[in-house]
């Protein structure tokens, strides 16, 4: 009975692992193919089944008729990085305020303000895309990095507030009170006492901001054209009826690689139990 149970358990894990890995393995092998290798059918093993080539990887830098993706790569880093940073700063400040002080305006209380922040995640991108398009055109920010950063702040700020409010609620208030007794103002208390004790929360918030920023396609797609291309847009542009599968696979792999490393960070937090508070 015990062996049967164990067998089922490992079989299930093996099945799901292959499902998870399938598209990645396929992309890896495809990235070393040429036109002949691709049209030759669903082959997996280089040398035996097809003649491998580095064409796909060279095309990342504009060689072999591919598109140079270094420009979009840097654009993506700049937009995701600055929007995440600004969101974390504004979000952490707001979250600390919401967690420590009482705000009242008419019938609006702290909980309502927190809910307002978080509820922005409900807003479907398509609802905002049309006014964003017109607004950025009015401001002359269409097809610019600055315009995208502005829009991404709207996407990421709610996430930062959500994670940090919950985190600060679990930081003991005695810490603040002791600092006040020592003559700190709320501002100095915040950055001398609370912030140094909030690194785990900041890491989780930063991680979620990076994931959602890096992985967005829709706004980058609707609000930029040719001057400012982000990575996902550049790669989807390769996706046509005469798709060069080799450069498509190589560029896809290189663009998802950095965030896959984040999976290791998430797992460490998970195993230490540090995520349980942050995700509730």
């Amino acid at each position: 009975m015990k062996t049967v149970y164990l067998a089922i358990k490992y079989l299930a894990i093996l099945l799901w692992s292959s499902f998870v890995l399938f598209p990645f393995l396929w992309a890896v092998t495809t990235s070393f193919k040429t036109a002949n290798g691709v049209t030759g059918g669903a082959t997996w093993i280089p040398w035996l089944q097809y003649e491998p080539s580095l064409q796909g990887w060279q095309s990342l830098f504009g060689g072999s008729g591919g598109t140079d993706i270094t420009g979009p790569y840097f654009n993506s880093i700049i937009v995701t990085g600055s929007a995440s940073l600004i969101s974390i700063v504004l979000g952490t400040l707001a979250a600390y305020g919401l967690s420590r002080f009482t705000f009242k305006a008419g019938f609006i209380r702290n909980a309502d303000i927190t809910f307002f922040f978080i509820s922005q995640r409900i807003m479907p991108p398509i609802v905002l895309a049309i006014p964003f398009f017109l607004l950025l055109r009015q401001l002359g920010l269409l097809d610019t990095l600055a315009g995208l950063i502005l829009v991404y702040i709207a996407l990421l700020l709610p996430i930062a507030v959500w994670v940090m409010v919950d985190f600060f609620n679990n930081v003991p208030r005695q810490l603040d009170e002791m600092a006040w007794l020592d003559g700190c103002t709320p501002m100095t208390t915040f950055y001398r006492v609370i912030l140094p004790n909030s690194v785990p929360g900041l890491i989780v918030a930063g991680m979620f901001c990076l994931i959602f920023g890096w992985n967005d396609f829709f706004f980058a797609f609707t609000l930029t054209f040719t001057d400012t291309q982000l990575l996902p847009v550049a790669i989807v542009a390769l996706n046509s009826s005469v798709t060069p599968w080799w450069s498509l696979s190589a560029s896809a792999l290189i663009s998802v690689a950095p965030l896959i490393l984040l999976a290791f960070v998430v797992e460490r937090f998970l195993s230490r139990g540090g995520l349980a508070g942050a995700v509730r």
Partner: protein, 288 residues
């Protein structure tokens, strides 16, 4: 001393209000105009757009498909995510390796993975049909037969987002107290009874949260559709979001598309509120 409190809250709040509220109000205003390519600008045509959408069968069809797709994928993701979390919760060789592996899909850019999946589903030179043929079976038109295309899109959504359920549920499992499990063992309860009597009730809160978050995100499904099928064949995989996109940013009927998105947003908020209430009742009843 407390006067400084506004310095904390206001910068973030004002930025968000400026970026979100103005566009939202503007959308509502545009939905009462006939703004399109030929006549850009705000005029007033009262509820004409809303009258038109009531009779737009394509819109309601897309909404129905979106709801089936969202609820279907989220239920499957929840079941699989819970099962996977339980599998790597207890003793297991290379436990941490599998935990990382199971998290990987949610870290990858959905639209880029959809591009890869499109090559996987390719009818003549894709590996999925290659696999079927190696087993002596016939290849299948994954993306060009209506029911199959719908299932293929759902499969990609499940691949991408089951890890999110897995993450939240595993985080919940890891933080469960140990005492009830000792009590259950002393009472001689088997693993299945322990699950339904101890684990499942204790996970009610996090289950509700996980299902709601995923439903909210799933109600926006459009990128996988855009890349893999463009809503086709015909309109078999067209979701509301994708239909609004076509009307608004491809046909540039901004007035009509705004009316569509306002209606869609209202329907989403109402159905999510109802679902939240139902979920709470369902799980809390289980507990007593």
């Amino acid at each position: 001393m407390y006067r400084q409190k506004h310095l904390f809250l206001l910068p973030g709040l004002l930025v968000l209000v400026a970026i979100i509220i103005f566009p939202l109000l503007f959308t509502i205003r545009v939905s009462f105009s006939s703004w399109d390519v030929f006549q850009p600008g705000l005029d007033w045509i009262a509820g004409a757009n809303y009258g038109r959408l009531l009779e737009d069968a394509r819109y309601w069809g897309a909404l129905g498909r979106l709801m089936i797709m969202a609820v279907g994928t989220v239920l499957i993701q929840y079941t699989l995510g819970f099962a996977l979390a339980l599998l790597v919760w207890g003793d297991l060789k290379a436990r941490r390796f599998f935990r990382v592996l199971f998290l990987v899909p949610m870290m990858t850019t959905p639209v880029i993975m959809s591009v890869i999946w499109r090559t996987v589903f390719h009818e003549s030179i894709g590996p999925l049909n290659g696999l079927l043929q190696a087993l002596g079976l016939q290849g299948v038109p994954w993306l060009s037969e209506p029911a199959l295309a719908f299932a293929s899109v759902m499969m990609v959504e499940i691949w991408q987002w089951t890890p999110f359920m897995f993450l939240l549920l595993l985080a919940g499992l890891v933080s469960l107290p140990r005492e009830p499990y000792l009590a259950a063992r002393i009472d001689g309860a088997g693993p299945i009874r322990t699950f339904f009597a101890v684990t499942f009730p204790a996970m009610a809160g996090i289950s509700i949260a996980a299902i709601l978050i995923r439903l909210i995100e799933a109600s926006k499904i459009m990128e996988s559709v855009y890349v893999m099928t463009s809503g086709g064949p015909g309109t078999a995989t067209e979701t509301s979001t994708y239909y609004i996109y076509i009307r608004g940013l491809r046909d540039f009927q901004l007035g009509y598309a705004s009316a569509l998105s306002v209606t869609y947003l209202v329907i989403m908020i109402i159905s999510l509120t109802i679902i939240a209430k139902v979920l709470v009742r369902l799980f809390v009843k289980d507990r007593t």
